[in-house]
């Protein structure tokens, strides 16, 4: 599946570790949450970057103590109608996570802007849509009643806040969000 980040498809350089497979000697590793809990000692000592696949049935706080060592968190969407990971993503950003927050599973162009707005900055997407569709989808709405990247915040624009209302806001504006 293509990996969408920063408005284009990029190569996924992460090594997925399944089940009990041994960790490689080097490289950036992506482990399931259960494995993270089981083998934290070994994983924390790994020379490359560490990422985790975090199920949407878990509480965001369960990752809190690991956040300093994590560079990637993948949040799967088991069905595109299952919106739990929008809140989990938001909570992880509020907890201070500033690495890559990736949506996986059922991601459609019509959801892209929502996901960007709650703090996701990378997406495993179905390969039937070209890049241009995703670029358009990221900019679908130019205004929002919420303070989010990539859209003018209506309330900020009305009441003015220094630097808070930017016309040039890039939907892929660097994470994390303010608050």
């Amino acid at each position: 599946m293509p990996l969408l980040k920063g408005d284009r498809f990029i190569k996924d350089s992460w090594i997925r570790i399944d089940g009990d497979a041994d960790l490689p000697f080097a490289g950036d590793i992506l482990v399931p949450f259960a494995r993270l809990l089981q083998n934290w000692g070994e994983i924390a000592r790994h020379p490359g970057l560490v990422g985790v696949v975090f199920p949407n049935s878990e509480r965001a706080e369960a990752l809190q103590s690991f956040l300093g060592r994590l560079s990637l968190i993948v949040l799967p969407f088991p069905a595109f109608t299952d919106g739990r990971a929008y809140s989990i993503g938001r909570q992880l950003r509020d907890l201070g996570f500033s690495g890559e927050l990736r949506a996986a599973g059922n991601v459609l162009p019509d959801q892209l802007q929502f996901m960007l707005q709650v703090g996701f900055d990378a997406f495993e997407v179905p390969d039937r849509f070209p890049e241009s569709v995703w670029q358009k989808a990221a900019r679908s709405m130019s205004v929002s009643y919420q303070p989010v990247p990539g859209a003018r915040n209506v309330w900020l624009a009305r009441h003015g806040a220094p630097g808070g209302d930017r016309d040039d806001q890039d939907p892929w504006f660097e994470q994390p969000h303010a608050g």
Partner: protein, 553 residues
């Protein structure tokens, strides 16, 4: 009344453009139906029994003459010349074609209207007391809060894929005319001892398969915390609401399964985390919005209107209507006109394009250009000089809009039912019509007194039958329609869920059954006792006996 600024206008315009693109992609095969469905639902487009249905948002039930005329235009141009006002203060059109919907939405955008989030697993229309800003007993106007909640909830990126729909209602008086205790979040706007504004917050009310009265989780939430607190509630629901079973997915089930105490703890734990940096901004925005709801420039008038009093003496029909359909206004010399959309034998809540134009004109001329939709499926002219009421009544009367049955047996609330709705198990409108014809005699309705009859065509309870004094639920028995009767529900501040009386009835038996129930009440009531009070005193027993002891059952 709230007016869009450039941002609101841009928001709606972009949303319509987005949906137009989605419709195009759907028709071109780039989107499958299961991908398109949640998108069209969030733009108010249902696929019903006979056709698509478009549900248009009427935020907290408030309309201007311009908006109402536009709805009349849409009824004529894109539909069959009528519309249906709903139990959530919205309007539904039953026959739009999918290909026309983007155009309809463009027309609506011209008058600052839309169909955003009137369906789907998202936050729906925020409803409020239909007498807001006018009622004599109002403590504070709920509309600015309904408006800020509307904006806050519109296309909220975090809360667009909830386990299920989410409904919020706000009231600003002790008498609850917004049925807040049967909503997912119910907000009672009030003042504390220090005179500060805040809310009692209720969560987990609802109807449907498992009707419940909401639990109060906060006695007094300061107004500045409203959005942060609601965000906390929504986040707890989004994270922990059930997603395994459609019939157990509302927040009321979560509140029940966690227990009130644990649920409240979850919300209170989340609340400090959701104090987003715009808390100060919320206050500024609220202040800006409130300016739109400043009272109109009322004239200083005497309490008694000579013209009005004389007209009542001269015209008995008018006097009857005024007694029932005119509600007290907080300003001397003014009144609240209630327009019943329940003529005897008619379809509850329906209005023709012509009728909509008539009401729009009356609103413009006599009610500071304001007209409201109530969740009882009637219309309201909130600020009318008593001097003008007779003139208005004559126009209403000439257009089939002067039925003097507000809150009486003929003022039936009914969902569209199996005649229109794919979810329905039985028809509700013919039942309403049969009962309405049976009680057509206004004298009899007045004799019976206040009586709310609610009819739902299926277990989803869109007719709110659980909170009817008499509730009727349409079911299916081996492919045929079949009706269960409940008694003793109430959507007021002393909310209660009705109890089932016994075995159900065939469609043609329902009017008789209601007649028997009412005769029983009339025979047993104390002086001045309403139906609901009598039921609460007597319990179901005498009604059961009367209904089921009779030989033909």
């Amino acid at each position: 009344m709230y007016r869009y600024d450039e941002f609101d206008a841009t928001f709606v315009a972009e949303r319509v453009k987005q949906f137009r693109g989605q419709v195009t992609r759907r028709l071109a095969g780039e989107l499958a139906e299961d991908e398109f469905r949640p998108l069209r639902l969030q733009n108010g487009v249902y696929l019903q029994l006979h056709a698509y249905m478009l549900r248009i948002a009427i935020p907290y039930g408030e309309l201007s003459s311009k908006k109402l005329r536009k709805l009349a235009f849409i009824a004529r141009r894109y539909d069959k010349g009528f519309g249906h006002f709903t139990t959530r203060q919205n309007i539904q059109f039953n026959w739009p074609e999918l290909v026309d919907v983007p155009d309809i939405l463009d027309h609506l955008a011209e008058v600052e209207m839309h169909a955003i989030q009137t369906s789907g697993n998202c936050i729906r229309n925020v409803t409020a007391d239909h007498f807001a800003g006018a009622a004599a007993d109002e403590v504070a106007d709920p509309r600015p809060y309904a408006e800020i909640l509307r904006q806050w909830s519109s296309v909220h990126p975090e809360f667009s894929f909830l386990p299920r729909k989410f409904k919020i209602a706000v009231t600003g008086a002790e008498r609850d005319r917004a049925a807040i205790q049967t909503h997912d979040i119910g907000l009672h706007l009030k003042k504390n001892a220090a005179g500060e504004l805040g809310f009692a917050v209720y969560v987990g009310g609802g109807q449907g398969r498992t009707p419940m009265v909401a639990k109060k989780i906060r006695d007094f939430l300061p107004e500045a915390d409203l959005l942060s607190y609601c965000t906390a509630i929504l986040r707890v629901y989004n994270l922990y609401g059930r997603r395994d079973n459609k019939y157990k997915a509302r927040i009321k089930i979560l509140v029940m399964e966690l227990g009130e105490k644990r649920f409240r703890e979850e919300v209170e734990a989340e609340f400090p985390r959701t104090v987003h940096p715009t808390a100060e901004l919320d206050s500024k925005e609220l202040e800006r919005i409130s300016a739109y709801f400043a009272p109109p420039s009322f004239e200083t008038l005497p309490k008694i209107s000579g013209v009005f009093e004389q007209a009542k003496l001269d015209n008995a029909a008018f006097a009857k209507w005024a007694r029932v359909n005119l509600a007290p206004h907080r300003v001397d010399g003014y009144g609240i006109v209630n327009i019943s959309l329940k003529p005897a034998g008619g379809i509850p809540g329906d209005a023709t394009a012509e009728q909509m134009r008539v009401v729009a004109d009356l609103a413009r001329r006599y009610s500071f250009d304001e007209v409201r939709v109530s969740h009882h499926q009637n219309l309201v002219l909130p600020h009318v000089k008593r001097d003008d009421v007779f003139t208005i009544w004559k126009v209403l009367d000439a257009n089939g809009l002067a039925t003097a049955n507000l809150g009486l047996a003929g003022d039936i609330i009914a969902c569209p039912g199996l005649d229109y709705c794919t979810l329905a198990t039985a028809r509700s409108i013919p039942v309403a019509q049969a009962i309405s014809r049976r009680f057509a005699d206004l004298e009899r309705q007045h004799e019976i007194g206040p009586l709310k009859i609610n009819i739902s065509g299926c277990i989803n309870a869109c007719g709110h039958h659980h909170v009817g004094h008499i509730g009727i639920l349409g079911l299916d028995k081996k492919g045929e329609e079949f009706y269960q009767i409940t008694l003793g529900g109430s959507s007021s501040e002393s909310a209660s869920i009705g109890t089932i009386l016994g075995p159900g009835f065939a469609g043609h038996e329902v009017a008789d059954a209601i007649d028997t129930i009412i005769k029983t009440y009339l025979g047993l009531r104390h002086d001045g006792e309403t139906f609901l009070d009598a039921y609460r005193r007597l319990g179901p027993k005498p009604f059961k006996e009367a209904l089921y002891a009779a030989p033909q059952r």
